[in-house]
């Protein structure tokens, strides 16, 4: 009977809110304003900013995940702050400072747990998504990177200093069950999981290549990917670590940024063998596939960070190059890929482009914008 009563109660509350105002969040998003410690609420359909929500602390390198109902964003700040933003009420719902120096986070497949990875003290902390109370503390003794969610209430993350990947299974009662996979490689700098939650790949800074894990196996073993891709070539200095989040699956291939080489690499998604390379303008930071997989958009590290190149995934050739402005930090596609939003930090603007004509559609004022996150991420593993 409990459920029936709560259904009634719910109906009563919903009834009144529905009369007041229904706020649909499916086409909304948030932009990190990195210097000011604020986020800007944006509306994709209107191509407009709706509100600024302040008080989130140091947001350099901040990222976020969304609750399954697309109402709450969990923002991970550099100062160790974890802020739960209510985009319906346009305010901070809760905020804790959970660690000294955090780098990213993830939300469990059931939306109940939010995990944060930290550089200092190195490790992962897991919080109740509702209350932000800590439910697990997993010290790793290393700067911890590449934290993602995986199906079955699991989190996967990797250690920069020790080169291990750990899988924390939170499906049981009590402490997480941890599986440790050593020897992933030297200085992994970031990682990602494929949309089906099967393949976890970490990029290596300390050596050439990447390392993959098949998360469908009980005891996944490191699989070396392109171990020699830079051999015989001189590495160029890397002024900004590339990101693997939002990496690109284009039909049957992945594309990802090379490190210390001015190119993106194409890899067969099944065999993990190289299928090609495309020379780029400079050191790529993000290589993001349009959701349909037909194009890949690439931005670059300082000092070439005013430029974007667009690669056609069939020919693997660059079909468009343009300069949105000084310091292009991030790009986010609309969920069906018809538009892309680009943050141009040093011009204090976010620019919206048509991905078919490449026309500039709108410019939106924002204060030192960096990451752009649409709520549609709520429904994708690894984002």
């Amino acid at each position: 009977m409990k459920t029936l009563i709560s259904t009634f109660a719910l109906a009563a509350t919903l009834g009144t809110t529905a009369i007041a105002e229904t706020i649909a969040t499916g086409d909304l998003g948030l932009i990190i304003e990195r210097a000011k410690g604020s986020v800007l609420l944006i509306d994709q359909s209107e191509r407009a900013s709706l509100a600024r929500i302040e008080g989130l602390g140091d947001l350099s390198h901040a990222s976020m995940v969304y609750s399954p109902d697309e109402r709450f964003a969990y923002v991970f700040g550099r100062d160790g702050g974890l802020t739960k933003v209510d985009i319906v009420e346009r305010k901070i719902a809760n905020r804790v400072v959970q660690g000294g120096n955090s780098i990213g986070g993830a939300i469990s497949d059931d939306g109940k747990l939010v995990a944060v990875s930290n550089y200092k003290p190195g490790g992962v902390r897991v919080f109740d998504a509702d209350t932000l109370e800590m439910v697990a503390d997993i010290p790793t003794g290393s700067k911890t990177i590449g934290l993602v969610d995986a199906p079955g209430r699991r989190f996967v993350f990797t250690m920069w200093d020790t080169g291990e990947t750990w899988i924390a299974d939170m499906s049981g009662e009590g402490a997480p069950a941890i599986t440790k996979i050593p020897e992933m490689g030297e200085n992994p700098y970031d990682a990602l999981v494929t949309g089906n939650g099967r393949t976890y790949i970490t990029g290596l800074f300390g050596e050439d290549g990447l390392t993959a894990l098949d998360l469908w196996q009980d005891n996944p073993k490191p699989i070396r990917v392109l171990p020699n891709y830079g051999r015989g070539q001189k590495d160029m200095p890397v002024y900004k670590m590339p990101h693997l989040e939002g990496w690109a699956l284009t039909g049957a291939e992945f594309v990802l940024p090379a490190v210390g080489h001015h190119e993106v690499l194409w890899i067969d998604a099944n065999t993990l063998e190289e299928t090609g390379r495309t020379k780029t303008y400079s050191q790529p930071v993000f290589a993001m596939a349009r959701p349909d997989g037909r194009q890949v958009w690439v931005n670059f590290a300082h000092p070439k960070n005013d430029t974007i190149q667009v690669i056609d995934t069939v020919s693997k050739e660059i079909i468009h190059e343009f300069k949105p402005g000084p310091a292009v930090l991030h790009m986010e596609f609309t969920s069906r890929g018809h538009e892309i939003w680009v943050s141009v930090r040093d011009e204090n603007k976010v620019k919206v482009y048509d991905t078919h004509t490449f026309d500039l559609l709108r410019e939106i004022e924002a204060d030192s914008p960096s990451g752009i996150f649409f709520t549609a991420r709520a429904h994708r593993t690894g984002l």
């Binding site: 350099s60 390198h61 120096n101 700067k143 300082h302 960070n305 005013d306 000084p326």
Partner: protein, 101 residues
């Protein structure tokens, strides 16, 4: 790219024997671009804390060299391709002096 432009202009000026430093552009470089590894407030990230308390054991000249040549076999890149020696010295001084907030 505004800061880079400024830097390129500076580099040009330096070569023609007329060094002109642009503190605004350099401050921005330190916080935004060093900051992408060391944190916007230089408290540390992938790279270590480089606030004055933690790097006070460096003398200015050694620090300048670290900036220009990076630290081999680590993620600390050499900045020589992008900035002049004078600019590196300015950054070293700026980091040591500590008004880096």
């Amino acid at each position: 790219m505004r800061n880079l432009l400024a830097l390129l202009l500076l580099t040009g000026a330096a070569h023609s024997g007329e060094p002109a430093l642009d503190p605004t552009a350099l401050t921005r470089l330190v916080h935004q671009d060093c900051g992408s590894c060391h944190g916007l407030t230089l408290k540390g990230g992938l790279g270590p804390d480089i606030r004055p308390e933690t790097i006070e054991h460096y003398d200015a000249e050694v620090l300048t060299t670290v900036i220009l040549d990076g630290i081999p076999d680590t993620a600390m890149p050499p900045w020589r391709p992008l900035i002049t020696e004078k600019e590196a010295a300015w950054i070293a001084d700026y980091l040591l002096k500590g008004d880096t907030q």
